[in-house]
Each structure stands twice: as structure tokens, then as C-alpha cells.
Symmetry: none
Subunit: 116 residues, 4 copies
Amino acid sequence: MEFNKNKSIYLQIVDFINEKILTGEFPEGAKIMSVREMAGMIGVNPNTVMRSYTYLQEEDIIYLKRGIGVFVSIHASAKIKKNLKKAFLKNELPAIIKKMKMLNIDIDELNKLLNK
Amino acid sequence: MEFNKNKSIYLQIVDFINEKILTGEFPEGAKIMSVREMAGMIGVNPNTVMRSYTYLQEEDIIYLKRGIGVFVSIHASAKIKKNLKKAFLKNELPAIIKKMKMLNIDIDELNKLLNK
Amino acid sequence: MEFNKNKSIYLQIVDFINEKILTGEFPEGAKIMSVREMAGMIGVNPNTVMRSYTYLQEEDIIYLKRGIGVFVSIHASAKIKKNLKKAFLKNELPAIIKKMKMLNIDIDELNKLLNK
Amino acid sequence: MEFNKNKSIYLQIVDFINEKILTGEFPEGAKIMSVREMAGMIGVNPNTVMRSYTYLQEEDIIYLKRGIGVFVSIHASAKIKKNLKKAFLKNELPAIIKKMKMLNIDIDELNKLLNK
DNA sequence: GTGGTCTAGACCACC
DNA sequence: GTGGTCTAGACCACA
């Protein structure tokens, strides 16, 4: 797996897992890859994966069972969408708007860009 | 001045100055605040401001005259717009599109959000 | 059965059985559930129940007869009370006192809380 | 510094810092020991201290400033008391009550024990 | 086998 | 100097 240099790896793993859950590749309630499996697959230290898993557990998106494995929470998908939407509206949208105004990009031009 | 934790302070100062130039608050050709003045005003270490100024000088947006002061370049405004547009199209737009798809936000909903 | 995350499951099973014995639900001398029955009932791996039983046997609270079953020891109830009291006075009470001081909870307030 | 074997070190460091804040030894708003200083002082790996600090930052009790240091939050003391009280009422008090009933310890006896 | 913690040591961006 | 991330490797309790 390839990582973006500007974002910490463990957060990119978080994004990766969130995506898998949203696409249904990791279904809610299901057991997913163990720390070591995931680490081996994406070529990263198990500690780093553990950090991602711990983060996701604090967000109630997965839960870890000692000696058993890692499971997707029941309402994980809705939770992820909620989190992403909240972050999008609060952090990213204002920045987009500000930048568009500064660059004199109007909604029509944005529409064209989006359709490409 | 308040800073976003996820972005380095010196880059946020760069954004801050870019904005002042685009809005005309720092007109092209004019002398702007010294490193020390700026540092005092926004409550930051002078070294950090120096780093922002150095960065902006490398981008030809300002220039420093030793012993005299800091000045906005003649074509600063156009240069900034060019840089921002390039970054917007290359880095931010793809991420926006991806996120909008994941969250099922279409162009109409975005339009509504933008108008608020 | 639900388990507290901060304590190991086998010890929670130990507590569970101790309680049954103290309340008389598992009378002294009587045969109690086998490892497999217990495991099925509370939804846990039989190995884990076995660990609890082994622990309780070492404490002379139950004894296992190979091929026959698991039995509550004759003086189990007294033994349990003695163990719990010892642990309570030695480990828990000092922590309670310290925490109450830090939280400015005095004996009167505790009394009120206990009566609820 | 000595650590209890039954609790993870990083959580014991959390307790340690909470206490220092409650007693005023680490005043609100003040800069406290850096990760490395703390690690050296208590004889623990810096990563472990970092874990404690990160935990406390998520609880809004301290905040970390990159390149500058670690600071106690403004309302840290109240926050800590709130957290401890909540945990005490929710987790510990019910267990105490249950255990006291099982051991036939009444409030008078507890009072005597507390006064020792 | 699993999660969970800890150490040792390194590198980076930032102030 | 500071925080922040990552690796490598180890040990433990638990299932």
C-alpha cells in the first residue's frame, strides 16, 4: 500500500478502513483482519496498525476483543458518514468557499470542473 | 490570532498574508509589517514569522530589503491567484469529489450549502 | 452475559460463581454446571471457564471430580467472605478513601449515595 | 517512581499528573515537564509518557504545542474532578455497595474503617 | 492464535 | 530544544 507523505500513516489506515466499511467490504458486525494480518498486508509495523485500531475503537467504529479479534461495530457505517459529513461542513466547506471567492470561481465553473 | 492545529503555523501565516494582499489591505509595492511587528501582533516566535517571509520571498510574493523593510512584489496578487488555483485543481478538488461521492452529496446539495 | 472490559473475563466468571454461592443459588456441597454448560450459557470459550474453575479449585471454593462433575466445597461460603473481606480492606478501601478525599466526598454524602 | 503491576504504566502516569494538577503543583495554564523530562524523571520510555500526554490531551486536561511544550488546560482541575466523580458514581460505588452487602458490612462499620 | 503494553532508537517538522 | 510518528522487537494476559 502506498501512503501520502503529508498525512500520518495511521490516519491513512483509518481512512482506508472507513472506506472498506462504507463500501461493505468490511460488513457491520463482521470480524476483520487482525492487527498482525493488516500490518503484514499493507507493509507497516503492527504498532502503527494498533494505533489506527485504537483510534477507530475510540470512535465506536470497531471494537477489539482481547484474544479473539477485531470487529466492526453495528452502526459503524452511519457513524463514519456522520463524522465525515460533520468534518466536511465544519472544516472543509468554509475553506472551499473562501478559496473560491478569492479565485473568482463561481458555481457554474465548479460544476464544469466536477463533471470532468 | 488563532491557529489550526493540523497545519503548521508558518504556513497559516503565509495564508494570512496572501489574503491581506488579495484583499488589497497589503497593496502591491507597499511596505508591510516587519518580522518583529508581525510576530508581536499575532503572538508568535519571530523565527516562525521569518520562515513565512522567507517562503513568500522564494515565491516572489514579497521581497526583503535588509535594514529597510519588507515589501509586496509588483505582481504579487496575480502570482498568488495562480498558485492557489493550481493547488486547488490539483490537490483539493479530487479530494472534494471523492468525499462528496462517499457522502452522497450531489451538486444541487452543494449549491444549497454554498449559498448559505 | 455482559462483561466489563477492564477486568479479565475469567475473573468476572469467578465473581459470578462466588455470588451464586453466597446467595445460596449454588448451595455448598451441590453439583454445579459443567464447564461446557457454563460456557454455553454465558457465551464464552470453554477454556476460559476452565480457567475460572481451576482458579476456584485452587482457592478451595469448588472441587472437580473427573468424569463426575463440579461441586461446591463445604465451607465455600465462609472462605469466599474471608477472601473478599481481606481484598476489600487491603486493596479497595485505601483507594476509596483517597478518591473520596480528592473529590471532597465526606461520610455524610457517601451515606446519602449509599441509601439511594 | 514505582508502579503498580496490575495497571498499565501510562494510566498510572495519567493518575500521577491528575493528582499534581488537583494539588496545584501543576497550576492551570502553566507549562509542565516535557515528554523527555518526565520520562527521565520517572524512569520510563518517552513513548510511554507520550501516550499518557496524548490521552490527557484527548480529555482536554492538557494541550501539547509542537516545538514549545506541554501546558495545563484552563479548566483542567474541574474537568478532572468531574471525570473522577463520574467514574466513582458509575463504576465503583455500585461495586462497593454490592460487596458491602455480601460481606454484611453496614455503614457504621464502614465509618469506623474510614476513620482509622 | 489474539489484543495490549512497553522499550529502544530513530527521524521529522516545527519553534 | 519541542512534540509527533514510525519501526523493530519483546513480553504479557487472555481465549
